[in-house]
Amino acid sequence: MTGYIVRRLLTTIPVLLGITFIVFAMVSLAPGDAISLMLGSETANVANVERLRRELGLDLPWYEQYLRYMKGLLTGDMGRSITYKRPVVDMIRERFNNTLILAASSTLFALVISLPLGIAAAYQRRSWIDYGASTLAMLGVSLPSFYLGLLLIIVFGLNLGWLPIRGMASRSASLGTYIRHLILPSVTLGSGLAGILTRLTRSSVLEALSQDYVRTARAKGVGERKVLYKHALRNALLPVTTTFGLQFGGLLGGAAIIETIFSWPGVGMLAVNAVKQRDIPLIQGTTLVFALGFVLVTLVVDILYVAIDPRIRYE
């Protein structure tokens, strides 16, 4: 187990290097001069361009620039935002928890919906539960999240007036208010993941139920409840774990859209605003943070998988 974890950790090193390199290279991808792009046409006179070029180290060869960039990252320096004139790290730190909360509650929503629904659908195949679950899953997978978000805003916010549609509750607000602000964004962000996981849970529970060990257990006279929960589910949920890890990236990408729609003050909205203002250091910072978050989640899921499934450990 420890051996596996060490090996898995080692494989993330080249990935991390690759990520930082791509994020670093984003500046040089810009057509024409990145600097005049950042300054805008009015302020891009020769003196300003020269000053910013030196400030960003763009007069150095690319490998020295990369080394400088990496050195900065390791000391917690992601550069300064051009529009806000503040360290990118500070701006991300202020919003990081908000995105974490939104991602966590969306994940919770997706799991609470998809697991019971997928299991019930598999267990009562071709019943109304099964058809209902398939329909919901199809909706979740096919509805564009920005569209779902706006529909929910129109119905529950504007027409019925049940739920708040903008922003986050302040820290002094009661828990109830806090949760009410979370509902619409979390449902919107979690619905895609819920759809994918419902379909997957259903098919993998179905597959597990058709295995020999389930037939053996039933033949032995083990109760149905125990067959389902102890024998079938344990095996069925393994692929669900992996898929969850892989799909978490979709959730993070969706956060950029959902935070923008609901004015949720997180890293996703920061990224979208950075793109609107062409604030390249800020774009680099937010992209990097999202990638690191995703790498971390995949890492944890992989290690969890081995912890759950002893067969892999001995290979």
Partner: protein, 295 residues
């Protein structure tokens, strides 16, 4: 020889007929195919089918409700006919979906072919690159690169394509590695054919089917992403009637008129839904054992 060919052809044809039969048994698959055909027809014949020019404004007649005379789905804030904009929008969305997926499939297949055929450091390099691309949340990387390149319909296609190649590289690489030990490849090598010839003439045709299938299944994803980009304002720009951009324009008038939001979003949803229905049916047709187990 010719008799063998015709027999082979016959089995191939009956196999295809069988696949079609299995597909047609899948009711939702047929529904999806019909819906999809409608969108494709609308896209191909857009200038003929659309009652108005999608960019033509009628400032005296904004926010007309659906069912108004001459405007089946009403008009938007500039009095432009919503139905005509949606019809022309299907052109943009389908085109982006198809081109983006083609770029991804061609790029990914070439890299996968090289990696699988040569192995060694080429393989290691390509696979590390695949891992790095997979480490980014897809949409975040797309937004970041779009930000640097600037919004335009061509950049949407290029960026969505370039960011999605790893899937195809993985797929092709695995197939090529399996095929490399087949007799026909060994024979080609023994005959002294060049690497390029072996790769593109002998191996590639054998891995094309799964690539085409997954590319087709990848189209709805590309359409969703391009709509999301359009919505955020980083994709196709107004006044072009891209569905995502239309939703984005409409959201400013949410309080006055929700009609403008409903239709373009519905179109994205219906196209993606019909692709998903068709995709499920195709998967069932190709893997009947699994289908029997799951349905």
């Amino acid at each position: 020889m010719s008799r063998d060919m015709s027999r082979e052809e016959k089995t191939a044809r009956s196999e295809l007929a069988h696949l079609v039969k299995v597909f047609l048994r899948h009711r939702l698959g047929v529904v999806g195919l019909v819906m999809l055909s409608c969108f494709v027809l609308a896209a191909v014949f857009a200038p003929v089918v659309a009652p108005y020019d999608p960019l033509e404004m009628d400032l005296l007649n904004p926010f007309a409700p659906p069912g108004s005379p001459g405007h089946l789905l009403g008009t938007d804030n500039y009095g432009r006919d919503i139905l005509s904009r949606l019809i022309h929008g299907s052109r943009i969305s389908l085109l982006i979906g198809i081109v983006a997926v083609t770029i991804a499939a061609v790029l990914g297949s070439c890299l996968g072919l090289l990696a699988g055929y040569y192995g060694g450091w080429v393989d290691a390099l390509v696979m590390r690159l695949v891992e790095v691309f997979y480490a980014f949340p897809f949409l975040i990387l797309v937004i970041g690169v779009m930000a640097v390149l600037g919004p335009s319909i061509y950049n949407v296609m290029i960026v969505l394509g370039v960011v999605s190649w790893p899937l195809y590289a993985r797929l092709v690489r695995a197939q090529v590695m399996a095929l490399k030990s087949e007799d026909f490849v060994k024979a080609a090598t023994a005959m002294g054919l060049s690497d390029a010839r072996i790769m593109f003439r002998h191996i590639l045709p054998n891995v094309l089917t799964p690539v085409i299938v997954s590319a087709t299944l990848g189209i709805p994803g590309a359409i969703l992403s391009s709509a999301a980009l359009g919505f955020l304002g980083f994709g196709v720009q107004p006044p072009w009637p891209e569905w995502g951009a239309m939703v984005s324009e409409a959201k400013d008038f949410m309080l006055i008129d929700s009609n403008m939001i409903i239709w373009p979003g519905m179109c994205v949803f219906l196209v993606v839904l019909s692709f998903n229905f068709v995709g499920d049916a195709v998967r069932d047709a190709l893997d009947p054992r699994l289908a029997k187990q799951l349905h």
